[in-house]
Amino acid sequence: MPFNLNCEGRSYQAAPEVLDRRRHAQYALAVGAAQGLGDHFVHPLACFAAVYLLWPVVPQLFSDPEVGLDVEHLLHGEQEFSFERPLGFEETITPEGVISRAERRRGMIFLEFQCSGRDEAEEVAARSRSLFVVREAG
């Protein structure tokens, strides 16, 4: 299915995510921030947002037939995470994502995907901006 350049504004919701301390410990070990699963952290690591903010909604984007992304030729071009305040463990964040830009240039597709995570007070506490690039076949 060809890529749909008119997909800007399509949005995706995901179930609330708890910033689980045990899952964070596995993440921290993987990125080398911890020596063991018992290491203590006051706040979750910033890029742990990939786990509770970005990844819960990205599979919906990648599999959306109305968008038609060729994920076999997709590259992650840019990433930004930002936070309104330091988040705490066991907080609940509800992620949602929206396609904020889609364009074709020089035989490539550029898709910007922005996510926001709302806390229990319905305030946006975390944001993500991703740029995905797809090399078009031929």
């Binding site: 899952r23 596995q26 993440y27 921290a28 070990l29 993987a30 990125v31 080398g32 921030a33 952290f41 006051v42 706040h43 690591l45 910033a46 890029c47 742990f48 990939a50 786990v51 970005l54 990844w55 994920v71 076999e72 030729h73 590259l75 992650h76 071009g77 840019e78 990433q79 930004e80 995470f81 930002s82 936070f83 330091p86």
Partner: protein, 139 residues
């Protein structure tokens, strides 16, 4: 430029550096990150799939590279600051088995925030992150 083991007061000095970190990016490490993050894209896990995609081998997730580089700063500043912004461009793949070296330097600092540039380099000199920046705020 001066390397300090821990950021003990905020703001840091411009030019101050956390200790650099060096790590071999093994398949076990990439698989651990896939399990921890939920990103099981086969380009990171399946050598046959990666070769079909035109790569010599599996490659690390871009967010693993960024996470490793940010961890260097967050461990350094854990007692005094929190990370309010992280941004980067993924500019080169990190093949499995390669050695990744990450470093950072404070480029601007005020009472409210500090900016650090992140650097990452692999064995052949490629830099998998560019325009990589972290903003810290005092706790």
């Amino acid at each position: 430029m001066s390397v300090t083991s821990v950021l003990s007061r905020f703001p840091p000095a411009v030019g101050e550096q956390p200790p650099a970190a060096r790590r071999i990016v093994t398949q076990e490490l990439i698989s651990s990150y896939a399990n921890a993050s939920g990103d099981h894209n086969p380009i990171h896990l399946d050598p046959t799939y990666a070769r079909k995609a035109g790569l010599p081998s599996t490659i690390a997730h871009g967010l693993l590279t960024l996470g490793m580089a940010c961890a260097l700063i967050e461990n350094w500043a854990a007692e005094t600051a929190w990370t309010s912004r992280v941004s980067c461009r993924f500019s080169a793949p990190v093949p499995v088995g390669d050695e990744l070296t990450c470093s950072a330097v404070v480029t601007a600092a005020s009472a409210d925030s500090a900016q650090l540039d992140l650097m990452a380099v692999i064995s052949n000199g490629d830099r998998p992150l560019s325009r990589a920046r972290v903003e810290l705020r005092p706790l």
